[in-house]
């Protein structure tokens, strides 16, 4: 991406965000009591101010983008590689989502073992044995430390409870 394209996209994005905030998000999701004596004390004053400044920043970005010369950025990777990269990213996103979902029932330690091994293989580690050993040992060591030294209530899950 060229600098021009970045500035333009960001600028338009910022303006859209500001419009969304001013028209939808702030009216609906910020509640303000009816008896506020002065507008500057109202809970919506600050978010509105921020939204307006965001819009101004967006306009500034668009203008500065327009004034830049468009330099064709060298394409650094071919499209097949690109598709693969996106595929890996979506798997990572999937891993993160699953982590949040299963952690309460499976327990933090077991979930982390799965997270470690899956993400290590996602980045194609060449140290297979180390990865497997670490995926088991590291969450256990951290559990021992956090639960027994620092006294943190690490979630245990419903199936296998650690001492």
């Amino acid at each position: 991406m060229s600098d021009k394209l970045i500035q333009l996209r960001l600028g338009i994005g910022a303006i859209c965000l500001a419009a969304f905030l001013l028209l939808i998000a702030i009216p609906f999701w910020v509640t303000s009591p009816s008896n506020v004596p002065n507008i500057i004390l109202s809970p919506i004053f600050w978010p509105n101010t921020l939204a307006i400044i965001t819009a101004l920043t967006g306009i500034g970005l668009v203008l500065s983008g327009l004034s830049l010369f468009s330099v064709k950025a060298p394409k650094s990777f071919n499209s097949e590689k690109n598709t693969r990269a996106f595929f890996r990213l979506s798997i990572l996103g999937f891993i993160m989502g699953i982590t949040i979902l299963v952690m309460p029932s499976l327990g933090l330690v077991w979930t982390m073992m799965l997270v470690f091994s899956s993400s290590a293989f996602l980045v194609g580690t060449t140290y297979t044995k180390t990865a497997i050993i670490c995926s088991i040992v590291l969450p256990l060591i951290l559990y021992l430390f956090f639960a027994h030294v620092a006294g943190v209530a690490i979630p245990q899950g419903d199936y296998v409870r650690l001492p």
């Binding site: 509640t31 303000s32 009591p33 639960a147 006294g151 943190v152 209530a153 409870r161």
Partner: protein
């Protein structure tokens, strides 16, 4: 509808756990949620009782601070916890009587909890700086009627806010919400600092929070809400001033579980707390901070909290302080 669903679900879980799990409670460590941050009154109280209580329980207690939204974030985790007695809450005056009285949008009510004990009472004191020239409650009230008086609190819906309003109301200041300015701060420490640096004129808070400033002569106490005088506070009590209704205005710390906590679990907590609060070192630590150790059994605790809540709620409704949004 939601309530019915919850009750049915609760009864179902209760039946299930009563038949299966409660062979010998406790058989594993119990996690105790502290809904306020490290270093605060609740945290110190909880961590001080942790050692003697752990001995009485016979299993480790795992302390977990879950802070946010004036104690609401931590309290919700107990509201939604399994009623097996393995997840309990250190409840506090702010999270369980002031907040429910003041906030319409609070995600829980008092009915969502079952209190197994209240073990600590903190007297409330009102104080000003020596430089303010205010020497007694009548000076303060006179200044309030004149206009331009302000007080600090640790946030909207905190004991500090309610305490100041309740005191002013009791002393006959009309419409204290509009004649006296409330300047909320972030946390109890900041609230005391606001009085010291002259941002506001006075505050009403737990005596332990300002004991140091009073001892150092930086703050002058005007009133303590208990019937008994508080050590180190050279100020009249609420009874001396003829306002016995202010005796309701005290801070407390207790322990609560979800509302469908089984009876035998609650009973066990009663005996454990008996042993824990008689520990000499615990008493010494708490009393050095100005707390009064007063153990209540589950029934008394529930009644005490409900009564305080009702008093607060009546005041909130009378003055229109409830936060609806």
């Amino acid at each position: 509808m939601k309530l019915i669903k919850k009750t049915i679900l609760g009864a179902f879980i209760l039946g299930l756990s009563a038949t299966v799990a409660l062979a010998e409670y406790p058989e594993r460590p119990i996690s105790m949620v502290i809904p306020y941050g490290a270093g605060g009154a609740t945290d110190i109280s909880a961590r001080s009782i942790a050692a003697p209580l752990g001995e009485a329980v016979g299993k480790p207690l795992i302390m977990a601070n879950i802070t946010g939204a004036g104690g609401a974030t931590g309290s919700v985790t107990i509201q939604n916890a399994k009623p097996d007695g393995y997840k309990m809450l250190f409840a506090r005056v702010g999270s369980h009587s002031v907040n429910p009285a003041m906030k319409a949008t609070l995600p829980y009510t008092l009915d969502d909890f079952r209190f197994v004990t209240v073990y600590e009472i903190n007297p409330v004191a009102c104080a000003v700086t020596p430089a303010s020239g205010i020497k007694s409650m009548s000076d303060l009230v006179a200044k309030a009627k004149e206009g331009g008086l302000s007080y600090s609190s640790s946030g909207v819906g905190s004991l500090l806010q309610l305490a100041a309003v309740m005191v002013l109301d009791e002393f006959g200041v009309e419409d204290p919400l509009n004649t006296v300015t409330h300047i909320p701060q972030k946390g109890g420490g900041a609230a005391a600092t606001a009085v010291l640096n002259g941002t506001v004129n006075f505050l009403c808070t737990n005596s332990s929070a300002i004991a140091g400033f009073v001892a150092n002569g930086q703050l002058v106490p005007l009133l303590v809400t208990t019937a008994q005088p508080v050590v180190g506070f050279d100020a009249p009590t609420s009874v001396d001033l003829g306002k016995p209704a202010l005796q309701q205005l005290v801070g407390w710390t207790g322990i609560a579980g979800p509302d469908d906590l089984p009876d035998d679990v609650a009973k066990k907590w009663g005996t454990w707390m008996q042993a824990a609060t008689s520990n000499a070192k615990f008493r010494e630590i708490m009393e050095s901070r100005g707390s009064v150790i007063e153990l209540m059994n589950p029934i008394d605790a529930n009644a005490f909290i409900l009564q305080q809540y009702t008093t607060f709620r009546a005041l909130v409704d009378k003055l229109g302080m409830r936060i609806e949004g």
